[in-house]
Amino acid sequence: DSLAQRFTRLFAGLGRSKLTPANIEDGVREVRTALLEADVGLDVVRGFVERVKEKAVGLTRLDGVAPADQFVKVVHDELVALLGGEETRIRWNDRGPTVFMMVGLQGTGKTTTCGKLALHLRRKEGKKPLLVAADVKRPAAIEQLKVIGRQVDVPVYAEEGGRPEKICARGVAKAIETGRDVVILDTAGRLHIDAELMDELEDVKGKTNPHEIWLVVDAQVGQDAVASAREFDRRLAVTGVVLSKTDGDARAGAALSIREVTGKPIRYVGTGEKLEQIEPFVPKRVAGRILG
């Protein structure tokens, strides 16, 4: 059941009487289990639960609202506050194309997200994007981006083989030359522990000075979200996160962990395989699914 249902059972015997430290302990244990089941990072859960305890103990002096509902509200509000609360509008470059760089672990949805972003910026912001195929390793990655480019009616810059940072630099030059005002770099998936490939990302960043570096994260990711996000952020100073595959039933606790550990905002969520399926991130929605 949802956390709210579990609290209602837990505090059922209390009627309208106050929350006490003893029964808060039980509630806190439920929150901890629920957050771990929702794939929130272990250490993030610990910190979160401490804050909820403090706020809940502060509540025992209030009367009138059923304890279970008070408790749910504390947890829910704490989640929403953590997830949201930041200005996330894109700051456009006024001296040339705005460069977006998409990075992340293998298979998280970067290439698809590049296509979705290109379509979104073309249609909703009147931009003229250029997609750059910087994945020269994965079989048919360039072809995949070219097909997507055709589907969203956005040109794709690609070279057969060669080094990603050079391809990206030439892609930006091509954008300037052809009057494109947005460049979206689709990089290959990689492990955060692959030093050489992480160096490669730094090289791409060095050569193209992206205005936005977005970490694309699979909503199904578990505890590994923390280590990987932390390392991508440490190496690149990520400016935002895109949470993909939110159309599934994964609780997406990674959203909380990543926000907590890197401090970086979630900008968009992927809501399906079609190239229209991207939406701005809404903290309340993700808070609701983490709580189940």
Binding site: L36, A38, Q106, G107, A140, E143, Q144, V221, A250
Partner: protein, 278 residues
């Protein structure tokens, strides 16, 4: 890690952390730690250095039964249907599995039944070329069941030892796509009554507790017979596989350890359990 420590609740708390950090999940972790505590209280566990081996053995034994051998057809090609959620590593795993199957000179035919995703057929074609095996494919947007059917009949006609069928990624919450997968399986059965002999569910080791939902739903739709866990070369431990095993009773058969053609291993439960504590 636990040398020279007392066998006490703080040791158990540290073990609990290791399991949770590896995605074993709160309920399975509690069950495992309860087993340790029970053995300790019953004096079957006396020294702190015996605790981790005991726990490793409990996990290994949950994963070991059923073995990890591929199901083989009694005659004709062994048909392997590969499925799983988007981006889990299906196509790449098929590329690796093909080379693995070919070690003893087996003849393999691939079926490109992902007719939906951009450049999916091109991607599998490159893997078929790397392996020097034939691939059965149709135009983009073709009926995946028709491609699967063609691949199986072609494999049968050409005396192939294996037919491996790639399918499009799909989330288990997409009812229509799960029905499509059921249809692919039914149509494959039409071509060869015992097929698919092996239905491999590809699970990404970085997934958390949702892997359990994936396993339940895919198993309900198409009777999974083996799991291929990918991306264990990263820092994720794939701990959700313990609960997956408890839930659907299907053995893990293969492990993906990288992006290259040789990055495949037969599943070793003891090594997997040990890695949880690294």
């Amino acid at each position: 890690l636990f040398l020279g420590r007392a066998l006490d609740e703080s040791l158990l708390a540290d073990l609990e952390r290791a399991l949770l950090a590896g995605d074993v999940g709160p309920r399975t972790t509690t069950a495992l730690i309860d087993e340790v505590r029970a053995a300790w209280k019953a004096k079957r566990l006396q020294r702190s250095e015996d605790v981790e081996p005991f726990l490793r053995e409990r996990i290994t034994e949950r994963l070991r039964s059923g073995g990890n051998a591929l199901v083989r057809a009694a005659s004709g090609p062994t048909v392997i249907l590969v499925c799983g959620v988007n981006g889990s590593g299906k196509t790449t795993s098929i590329g690796k599995l093909t080379k693995f199957l070919k070690r003893d000179g087996a003849r393999v035919v691939l079926g490109a039944a992902d007719t939906f995703r951009a450049a999916a057929v091109e991607q599998l074609t490159i893997w078929s070329e790397r392996n020097g095996v034939e691939i059965v494919k149709q135009a983009q947007g073709a009926d995946p069941a028709a491609v699967a059917f063609d691949a199986v009949t072609a494999g049968k006609a050409r005396g192939a030892d294996y037919v491996v069928i790639d399918t499009a990624g799909r989330l288990h919450t997409q009812t229509n796509l799960m029905q499509e997968l059921e249809k692919i399986r039914r149509v494959v059965k039409k071509a060869v009554p015992d097929a698919p002999h092996e239905t491999l569910l590809v699970i990404d080791a970085t997934n958390g507790q949702n892997a359990i939902r994936q396993a339940e739903q895919f198993h309900k739709a198409v009777t999974v017979t083996g799991i291929f866990v990918t991306k264990l070369d990263g820092t994720a431990k794939g701990g959700a596989l313990v609960a997956v095993r408890d839930t659907i009773g299907v053995p893990v058969k293969f492990v993906g350890t990288g992006e290259q053609i040789d990055d495949i291993e037969v599943f070793d439960p003891a090594a997997f359990a040990a890695a949880l504590f690294d």
